[in-house]
Symmetry: C2
Subunit: 148 residues, 2 copies
DNA sequence: TATTGTTATACTCTATAACTATA
DNA sequence: TATAGTTATAGAGTATAACAATA
């Protein structure tokens, strides 16, 4: 196999993995009545606690108008509430409901268990090499201006 | 680093890679006036030649109604045309315009060059190990019923 | 004057259901 | 009777622009 064919095979598998992981994520979330965007909101709340819509807009890198719609959806499906901000009457604080808190915790748990599917029983050295190469590739992409 | 931490780090980097690759793809396509879904149509045409909308619906795994909308968009932006099917007057054949053909070929070319960013200058053994592990992981996912 | 979130409007992707034309 | 593609309708994500309330 030529070097070029090898690299092409690598990109193909990487793109295939992207598609499969995305599809699986969307399906799991749909089972909980969530979309990827709404789950992203829950993720931020889980990591950083109650947030203003402005902060959520910055975190998700979408417009404030978009956040209004996402929170509308999460409120109507019972995952979060809008609370008044204690010090700024312009702002609202988005907080978990009990259902939201449970769901976010369960998703975090599921992600953790997912590592077992990916790496379970794989020789440690192989996992280490894989993680190292991923870091290498992410670094290359960052040099191209591609990062989070 | 514990085995668990290592695996968590691996999943984190994988998910980060998914996000970065998706964002970059969307941005490149937008520069050409394309969305991911519309580009997917061009991709199928590039690989298999002119197709009926029905065949495109099957290939993209979306409803026929959805294909109507995607082709409407691709026609109005000049990437494809609807031609009458030679043997079945119910069906339409979707074909490239010259612009569509050029764009699809350029995208294929760009993807090929992208391998240089990902793997260029990396020791062959390292690339081989990475591609091997990707295949391993895709196999594990397939065992879980997760595949294309 | 600047910021927070909303209303108004528009585009894209997605789906189901009913329908037309054709096989 | 079955298939190809459309119209009708609806929900979700995204954006810009104008606006109200508040800082």
């Amino acid at each position: 196999m030529t070097r070029t064919d090898l690299e092409t095979e690598g990109l193909d598998r990487l793109l295939q993995l992207v598609v499969v992981l995305n599809a699986d994520l969307a399906q799991r979330l749909a089972a909980d009545g969530l979309t990827e965007s709404r789950a992203h909101v829950l993720w931020v709340l889980q990591q950083h606690g109650p947030q203003t819509q402005r902060a959520l807009a910055d975190a998700l890198r979408v417009t404030p108008r978009n956040i209004t719609g996402l929170i509308d959806g999460l409120v109507s499906t019972g995952f979060v509430t809008r609370e008044s901000h204690p010090h700024d009457r312009r702002a609202t604080l988005v907080s978990f409901t009990e259902q939201g808190r449970r769901t976010a915790a369960a998703l975090e748990q599921e992600q953790h268990q997912f590592t077992g599917i990916l790496f379970g029983g794989m020789p440690r050295a192989k996992v280490e090499a894989f993680v190292d190469t991923l870091g290498d590739i992410l670094g290359r992409l960052q040099e191209q201006g591609l990062s989070l």
